[in-house]
Symmetry: C2
Subunit: 340 residues, 2 copies
DNA sequence: GCCGGTTCCGAAAACGTTTTCGATTCCGAT
DNA sequence: ATCGGAATCGAAAACGTTTTCGGAACCGGC
């Protein structure tokens, strides 16, 4: 069907091994034959079968992007896509090939991490969407295979983390609200058990405390990161609280901010004239809402790029496992009004 | 490292071939040994190495999702993600494994379609984002490998298309505007050369003509599907046209509609009170804009699901190559006002 | 002309499967 | 008892690479 390495070998009058070494830049080939082999390979339109290579080689440059929870409905699409873009960007620039694998918690229980890697000849992986309770977290720590987790804290001799300082970022976001004169702040909280929620909560506490404010329990609206819950939560909130009980809503995600704005609109209030709202994530959609939402950009595309770079460096022994903290970006838009 | 088929064979006291046949439901195995082999395989935690299988087998159940233009900035993320979700949904339900490959026009020129498939042992592919001028279009038509294109019309003995009737859909969208009393309609056009644009244009013409209206050239704003161009286009339009020259904007994509609304807001006009706007695609973001945008839902997730189903059916000989037209859904929201 | 050391390349093993082919066993029928 | 054929399984080729090992050829130096 297609042209294999033996076709090239035959055409060039050498053995398959020689062709392989010539094309893979081995040293023990005379420049003469190397050039000839490269030429005939080009003439025949030869490209190596990556599957066969993957099966054979001991040092494959093939890395995997493993997405957990991708199929769940609550998941924001933009994250995965941006991540993919970042990874592929790096992959294109450096000639590595990336495979994508979609899993969930159930699959993790059925098939071990090592098995998954073994099945697909994965030499190193980037993992996204892992919950701290997921089976793979332990597996990563024990594995000899280098890997990079994104936004999930896992420790192990061969596991790196790419993340950003969510505590500092949420602190900064909170501080921004305060600096704009807001004192009565309601926190719209994500899933209680989620690590990402807890970090952001810590950041909020930190900033409030520093400014002599306190975050009382009745000023927190709990959600599961679902937009509708934020809407309902705000509607409920005003049933038991006076309108001027709050001036700003501090949301743990952009989607929650959208939900909050929706509720405020239903109540006939305007943003940011009557209430200020901030989000977190930096989704594209925050540019298209009315008003555009002030948020913290997680810079997820760069996370993907840096994760891929870090993983390749680990695979090729240039870098140790490490925790890589990327900068976040407070993006001021139109959903906050200066008051007081 | 991991447990291979020979480990199972040794443990069960049979040959590797027997293990393979036992696990793959071949007939010529006594139920006795089959049960024993399955049991030991389970005990050892054996999972087949899919790479090796892919290299060896003649009838692989592995299909690929090939995304072209994924890295380009103008691309809407939601499309690819939704498509992936649909494909994976089907894959999970039917135990096939999907690999994702990201390409662009440049890669298409450098590496042939057959080569790409050969490299990754792809037995059948779903292709998205293909332009009619792309090299792969011809390649698909000539290939013996079954494939499914999404929204790109390609004819060939083994190529199916999954699409929706864009002409009818845009006709319906236009008709809806007209039925709401709109007579003076401006069309916000996508990339002129793109097939998708031409189909939508045809639908608009068709509906206008049926209602005794005409779509004059000066009533068309051309863009490259970029939001900013739509904004600028509308701003420019009103420099040379009176405000009441138009009552509705008919946009070829949701992003263009967002751009139009942005322009109208800048001009101090309200939607839908002063002008009506409709989009096309059914992106999630149309639910979060203000107002929510009336649009045609392309139902892209189902496209992915159906494409995967169709491809597997073709691979296993249950269905011929065909053109599959999925239903579209006119989703009426808040961006159109009834007038007249 | 012989020898030690490079330089270059071919032969073949290895990766883990699937699948063909043929060999063995077993059984009932002749 | 012999045979035909079915049932069951083992041996080995095949998939297309990479990589190890060793052998040939060549070289300069003695």
């Amino acid at each position: 069907m297609s042209v294999t390495i033996q076709d090239v070998a035959k055409a060039a009058g050498v053995s398959v091994g020689t062709v392989s070494r010539a094309l893979n830049n081995y040293a023990d080939i005379s420049e003469n034959t190397r050039a000839r082999i490269i030429r005939t390979a080009q003439e025949l339109g030869y490209h190596p079968n990556l599957v066969a290579r993957s099966l054979s080689t001991k040092h494959p440059r093939s890395i995997a992007l493993i997405l957990s929870g991708f199929l769940e409905e609550t998941i924001i699409n933009d994250f995965e896509t941006m991540l993919m873009k970042g990874c592929y960007q790096f992959a294109f620039e450096h000639g590595v090939d990336i495979s994508i694998h979609v899993i969930n918690s159930a699959i993790q229980r059925r098939k071990s991490y090592e098995q998954l890697c073994y099945e697909h000849n994965i030499s190193g992986a980037i993992l996204f969407g892992l919950k701290t309770t997921d089976p793979y977290c332990e597996a990563l720590a024990d594995s000899k295979r280098p890997c990079v987790t994104i936004d999930t804290e896992v420790k192990g001799p061969h596991v790196s983390n790419v993340t950003l300082d969510h505590i500092a970022a949420f602190d900064e976001l909170t501080q921004y609200l305060i600096s704009q004169g807001h004192r009565r702040i309601v926190l719209v909280h994500g899933r209680k058990e989620a690590m990402v929620s807890m970090e952001r909560l810590a950041g909020a506490y930190q900033a409030m405390e520093r400014n002599g404010l306190q975050l009382t329990h009745d000023r927190i609206i709990y959600t599961n990161f679902l937009r509708e819950e934020a809407t309902q939560g705000v509607l409920d909130y005003f049933k038991t609280h006076a309108p001027d009980d709050v001036t700003a809503f501090l949301c743990m995600s952009d989607m929650l901010a959208i939900g909050v704005i929706e509720a405020l609109k239903r109540l006939g209030r305007r943003v940011p004239q009557d209430y200020s709202v901030v989000g977190y994530d930096g989704l594209d959609v925050t540019n298209y809402t009315d008003p555009r939402i002030t948020t913290v950009d997680q810079n997820i595309k760069e996370k993907g790029y840096e994760a891929a770079r870090l993983l390749l460096d680990m695979l090729e022994g240039r870098r140790q496992a490490q925790r890589l903290v990327l900068p976040h970006i407070l993006t001021v838009k139109d959903s906050v009004r200066r008051i007081g």
